[in-house]
Symmetry: C2
Subunit: 343 residues, 2 copies
DNA sequence: TTTTAGCACTCGCATATAATGAGTGCTAAC
DNA sequence: GTTAGCACTCATTATATGCGAGTGCTAAAA
């Protein structure tokens, strides 16, 4: 266990490193507020802290930088929760007071705000619609054989498909079909639509419809959920302002990484409770070895439906980001819920 | 006017510079196929070409690089159109044979292909829906006071709005309203919907509806066109592989630029006829001073509805890109049109 | 008159060398 | 246990040096 003095010194070093991005030396720490010991004393403690694995030395004659273990200790034991003033809260409130009529825009907006306030990059994973329930299904014909199918969920999410109608199925048949479906599928969650059709409605369909096979194909088209979740990013360039990305190679590695949506989705693996911090290796992805990510879930009416994450260098302002992501996600969840509140 | 020999030399220099990105010297040109003169002769001609403004010299003892004027001449007079073999055409065909059910996905797909084949960055401006005509309007209630409005166009584009119903307007009133609108607005282009309502339907509305003011507000919400065009990009990182962007500052400038959708839209200002090439300054944007952009329009049933552009360094393989963008856009337009062909 | 070989000259780039200074570890005194 | 002092380390910066690709000019060859 660390002594009180060691904690102080570790704390001072990390705080300093967070803003300077330079190895911090004993003299700097000694002069820092809240540390009353001489540089020599600090040096001794620093040597101990390094031995214990909380600090690292880039080379012999340089200062110390925090190790991953150091950051972890800092996040777990040395942070004090931010106190928001009422004027802070008011300005946050204002950021979310704008009237937005589409979920996607609201997410993008939140993402932008968070990136702006933290000065790091924000990644959001779009709302999981598959837990939404079907409210209304409709097919709008465009011509003899092409049409658009539209599914509206109880939360107001709209999903569309362009479909081609089988030649030998008449428009009136389709109409009957949709009527039937609306009747029988309303309230079923999107993820279960197909299964429900296949399990419960086959017999009925066989009875009602002329061309059972084609119809079933068509239904599968209509009910297919595409892109259940979408990735939103903000502030990529802010990331590139960070001194650790002045290196062109690292920059490219990051940008390549960010172009792969699948990896980003992995990055935001859901965590339903509170704010999570993963530091460096803990992310288990080569490309973001030198990054940390702070994630939390946003809710609609208390139910987690998506994830927000702030990605920054391991040398990131954990205190500020954790506080900001926490409070802003609350406001955002509130805004989202209010978009549905009168259900 | 340039002599035949000067053209040859300019052509050789530019071709060489396009692949090497290094100033090219007289010896290199002299050895190049199709140039039968000694280095000294080439040197003299190069001096002349420089005087006329077609070449530049980074510093006294370096080779020459093409100037903007040089590139312009090259593009206007020295390019020979690419001949595609039937196997080329077949493989292009295959690239577009995939069945895609949403316009957005098709655009993104094309954008990706073009970027991959050119090794530069591709930017697409989404289809202009405002020229689409209204086919079907619908309001799906979610709860007492919230609903989703859906507008489907003749081309199958779906536009949705989340709306809040005024307290004192009943559901049946809304239904009547939508019926009326469907009747009266079908076939009107999206861009003219609002105007039509305000000009032609006000009296009718006043007669039919109880709460004229609120209803009109609601209508404006429903008929508002958001995001008429969307920006798609591909291959940002390919751009960063180019030697001219190894400089971190330039890289950041470009990335910042790319984050501003508005600027990108400006960049793709529509040109309805054929392939357009803008080189360096001709783009009139500080941030892409050292870039060129090659654009063309894609069509649905012969009508231009959006723009595709390839952005690369001024030292870009014009020949290849021009040919590729031309042929691929044709295939893409064909694909898009076939999505609507049975109208 | 046009083309080419020859040669002195320029200048960016890469490499080697020296100077600087921030920061350390250790020792001995407080 | 703490601190001042000092020799030592090593990345970074500044300064020289050599190299070579490429030029412009001149004079000879075609």
């Amino acid at each position: 266990m660390l002594t009180e003095r060691q904690k102080r010194i570790l704390w001072a070093i990390i705080n300093n490193y967070i803003v300077s991005a330079e190895p911090v030396g004993s003299r700097t720490v000694s002069k820092k507020e809240g540390v009353g010991f001489s540089a020599a004393t600090v040096r001794n403690e620093m040597a101990d802290l390094e031995e214990m694995g909380y600090l690292e030395q880039p080379h012999t004659s340089a200062g110390r930088i925090p190790s991953q273990k150091g950051y972890r200790f800092y996040v777990d034991h040395l942070l004090m929760p931010q106190k928001w003033t009422s004027s802070d809260l008011l300005s946050f409130q204002q950021l979310f007071s704008q009237n937005i009529d589409r979920v996607e825009l609201a997410i993008q907006h939140t993402s932008n705000i968070l990136s702006q306030l933290t000065n790091y990059m924000t990644i959001c994973l779009g709302p999981r619609v598959f837990i939404d329930r079907l409210n209304h299904l409709q097919v709008v014909p465009l011509s003899d054989r092409s049409a658009v199918s539209i599914a509206v969920t109880d939360r107001g999410y709209v999903q569309q498909h362009r479909i081609t109608l089988p030649e030998d199925v008449s428009v009136s048949t389709i109409e009957r079909l949709i009527n039937l479906l609306n009747h029988r599928l309303k309230g079923i969650s999107l993820s279960k639509l197909k299964a429900t059709v296949h399990q419960e409605l086959t017999n009925e369909l066989k009875r009602y419809m002329d061309h059972y096979e084609q119809t079933l194909d068509l239904l599968d088209q209509i009910l297919h959920i595409h892109h259940e979740e979408r990735i939103y990013t903000s502030g990529t360039t802010r990331m590139l302002e960070q001194p650790e990305f002045q290196d062109v190679a690292k920059m490219k590695m990051l940008l390549n990484f960010l172009e792969e949506d699948q990896r980003l989705i992995q990055l935001l693996e859901p965590n339903t409770d509170g704010v999570h911090v993963r530091i460096g290796d803990e992310i288990h992805m080569e490309e973001v070895n030198h990054c940390s990510i702070i994630t939390t879930s946003y809710m609609i009416n208390g139910e987690p439906v998506g994830t927000i994450g702030v990605l920054g260098p391991t040398r990131m302002d954990y205190q500020r980001v954790i506080s900001l992501i926490d409070i802003l996600t609350q406001f955002f969840s509130q805004q989202l819920s209010s978009m549905y509140e009168d259900e």
